[in-house]
């Protein structure tokens, strides 16, 4: 296949009427990449203070049929999850990401809630995960795969519940990418296998353009937004 590679690159250079790039030009392009220079970011979310940004996130998420429940502390999460499952007539049984950030939530306070930690299997009806960030601009969640964060949890079960800390609401996708870069060791080998930007439950309009939820992925996406005052006050600054 390397003959194909050489042919294609030669064809590109022929079209562009030049040989391989001079070292100085290539260095300039490499510099452009490593600078992570941002293009225009819409003012919609970037211009807001943190609390208005959270409100925008909730409004945008609800617009695409995500449901959001706001609680004032991590301690209130198990009760909200139990309430939601009961209200949706779902079994009090879920598979939860092994992420240690969920360990501080007092799940034992709800002994009737049956919890397994790990990846999703075909029979699982409900999953619960944290998320790396939430993007206010379009009501989008950012989840990164990893040992503690199986991707199957985001797609296999019918219902996906996400615990979101208010401090993790950022303005833009670019803010989210910076958070991933900060977590990853330098270079692509440190980058997570999968980054999921999730905006509402699964849907299709493929038959007569009539939107139906739950095409192949989750039918429901429920966010438990934890508004911890001390976290919100220290939320990431606007960029």
């Amino acid at each position: 296949m390397s003959a194909a590679r050489d042919d294609i690159l030669a064809g590109i250079r022929r079209g562009l009427r030049r040989g391989p790039l001079p070292a100085a030009t290539a260095a300039g392009l490499a510099e452009r990449i490593s600078a992570h220079r941002r293009n225009l970011i819409p003012a919609r979310a970037a211009a807001l203070d943190h609390s208005a940004r959270i409100d925008l996130f909730v409004a945008m998420a609800e617009e695409v049929q995500t449901t959001v429940a706001r609680v004032t502390s991590g301690d209130a999460v198990p009760a909200e999850v139990a309430r939601y499952l009961a209200a949706e007539n779902l079994p009090a049984e879920l598979v939860m990401a092994p992420d240690p950030s969920l360990d501080t939530i007092p799940w034992a306070a709800r002994p009737l809630l049956s919890i397994r930690r790990g990846r999703a299997e075909p029979g699982d009806a409900v999953s619960l995960t944290p998320c790396l960030a939430a993007i206010a601009e379009t009501g989008t969640l950012l989840l990164a795969s990893g040992a503690d964060s199986p991707t199957t949890l985001n797609f296999l079960p019918d219902t996906h519940i996400v615990v979101l800390r208010a401090g993790d609401v950022v303005a833009s996708y670019e803010d989210g990418f910076d958070l991933v870069r900060a977590r990853s060791v330098a270079g692509p080998e440190g980058w997570p296998r999968t980054l999921n930007l999730i905006t509402g439950p699964s849907r299709t309009g493929d038959i007569e353009q009539r939107i139906q939820l739950g095409a192949h992925g989750p039918r429901r996406l429920h966010i438990v937004l934890v508004d911890e005052p001390e976290v919100a006050a220290n939320g990431p600054p606007a960029r």
Binding site: I12, G139, T204, G205, D206, G214
Partner: protein
């Protein structure tokens, strides 16, 4: 698939006479443009984003060799592998070889126009591998053994009754008299039928909306989540993508993503935008063990530096299809190959040859809507004109057509003769048609009068009115 663009004129008549197609197109005509308008109305920066999107793509194409090499390096660093393919045959062979290396029997597929372009499903089937399309629209047309009629809504030419018929014929394990009247029921049935395939597949094949040089990632944008199940559950993930999908950084991808969903479906953002980099990491509880990218050229590199280079900016959003009066009248199958509408009228001749697809760039009223709505401002009408010029120069159009054009050029470049001839012609036509005020048929214009009447000229010509107006102005 074999192109049938040569029979475009016959395809058009079939499309116009198809009542189901006309009902389905009626839904599309209003839905997509309205939702797009609402979405961009909410984003004041949309126009500026279009300019930036165009600049990102132009910059990347100008340094395409650099970004592709960097991309390959970073895919390898993340544990994946890039397979370069000069043409469709090499791409098919690369996919088949990977499938065989893991003894694959069932392959699930996310929607990919490049896979359609290289006719991947037929090739896999011929070699004993079962491809299962998982995007609902693609699944429907796979059951019906037909090509997509739209690049983001493959089954847009169908109504729910045809889908129900296809499901009844294919899902013979279900009760034959089950109710399938509701769209909801059809979606539920497809979900239930396809779920075991997702779990059983050995290889998952997706396309890519973007490839990111900075990280060696591929990005897919979907609403159903089928692409994610396709690439997460099997042991092997193969991405088939054409080389112009590359962008330098995630920041550049973000700008183009802001344009894509709004232009395509009128959504603020699609449900799932997924950035995939290499295979699963040590310790990851799920994800594919192998990650391959089949990188297809298939004639694209030849467009660089020429009058069709701008076409390589295309994001495949389908806004040009959704706003095209020709597409809206005849549907996508008339175009006879994988890419319909204005983007297809420009791209198809480049990929399958002008001799085969010469009709397509002629199928335009040049109303300009396609260029107006293109998120990266591709000058589609101008490029269709370039194809028409080439068709004329290469003597590919019929002799009568070329002689007519030659006569027209001769006349139109002699203004006084032109004015005299048109003045006489319009007076004669006006006199002949004075009774009815219109003509049902005219000699040499049957093609035009087939679908509508020709109004008879009335009163004086614009030229003579204008000349009189100019004289009056001077007198004042």
């Amino acid at each position: 698939m074999q192109p049938t663009s040569r029979s475009f004129p016959a395809n058009i008549l079939a499309g116009l006479a198809d009542p189901v197609l006309q009902r389905a197109l009626g839904l599309a005509r209003t839905g997509f443009p309205l939702r797009r308008q609402q979405a961009i109305g909410r984003l004041p920066e949309f126009e500026e984003l279009r300019d930036q999107g165009r600049a990102i793509k132009d910059h990347t194409l100008g340094h395409l060799d650099f970004y592709l090499e960097l991309y390959e390096t970073n895919v390898a660093a993340a544990g994946g592998q890039v397979h370069w393919a000069r043409d469709a045959a090499e791409a098919r062979a690369a996919v088949l070889e990977i499938c065989r290396s893991v003894g694959a029997k069932i392959v699930t597929k996310g929607k990919s126009m490049v896979a359609e372009e290289i006719a991947l499903n037929d090739h896999l089937e011929q070699n004993g591998i079962t491809p299962v399309e998982t995007d609902l629209g693609e699944y429907i047309i796979q059951l019906r053994h037909e090509p997509p009629s739209h690049i983001i809504a493959p089954a847009i030419h169908l109504m729910k009754e045809q889908v129900a018929d296809a499901f009844r014929a294919a899902h013979t394990e279900l009760a034959p008299d089950r109710p399938l009247e509701e769209v909801r029921t059809l979606c539920e049935e497809a979900r239930a039928i396809l779920r075991p395939h997702f779990l059983a597949a050995d290889v998952g094949i997706t396309g890519a909306n973007f490839l990111v040089a900075e990280t060696g990632s591929s990005i897919i944008v979907t609403n159903e989540g089928n692409g994610d199940l396709t690439q997460t559950l099997p042991r092997v993930h193969i991405v088939v993508a054409s080389l112009e999908k590359i962008v330098p950084t995630l920041e550049d991808a973000a700008t183009l993503l802001r344009l894509l969903a709004r232009s395509a479906t009128g959504q603020e953002f699609s449900s799932y935008t997924t950035i995939s980099t290499g295979p699963r990491r040590p310790g990851d509880p799920d994800g594919p063990e192998q990650y391959h990218v089949v990188l297809l050229d298939n004639g694209r590199s030849e467009l660089l530096g020429g009058e069709f280079q701008d076409m390589l900016r295309c994001l495949r959003c389908a806004a040009c299809l959704n706003h095209c009066p020709v597409y809206a009248a005849v549907g996508g199958h008339a175009y006879g190959w994988v890419y319909p509408g204005p983007m297809g009228a420009v791209l198809t001749p480049a990929l399958v040859g002008l001799g085969e697809a010469g009709h397509l760039p002629n199928a335009s009223t040049f109303c300009g809507r396609c260029e107006e709505v293109c998120p990266v401002k591709i000058p589609l009408p101008k490029m269709m004109r370039h194809w028409r010029e080439r068709e004329f120069v290469q003597r590919l159009s019929p002799i009568a057509y070329r002689s007519g054009l030659r006569f027209w050029a001769w006349l139109a470049t002699r203004p006084s003769l032109y004015h005299a001839v048109t003045e006489i012609a319009s007076r004669v036509l006006g006199w002949v048609g004075r009774g009815r005020g219109r003509f049902r048929s005219l000699p040499l214009a049957a093609g035009w009068t087939l679908g509508r009447d020709m109004p008879a000229p009335e009163g004086r010509s614009f030229h003579s009115l204008w000349a009189e107006h100019q004289r009056a102005c001077k007198r004042r």
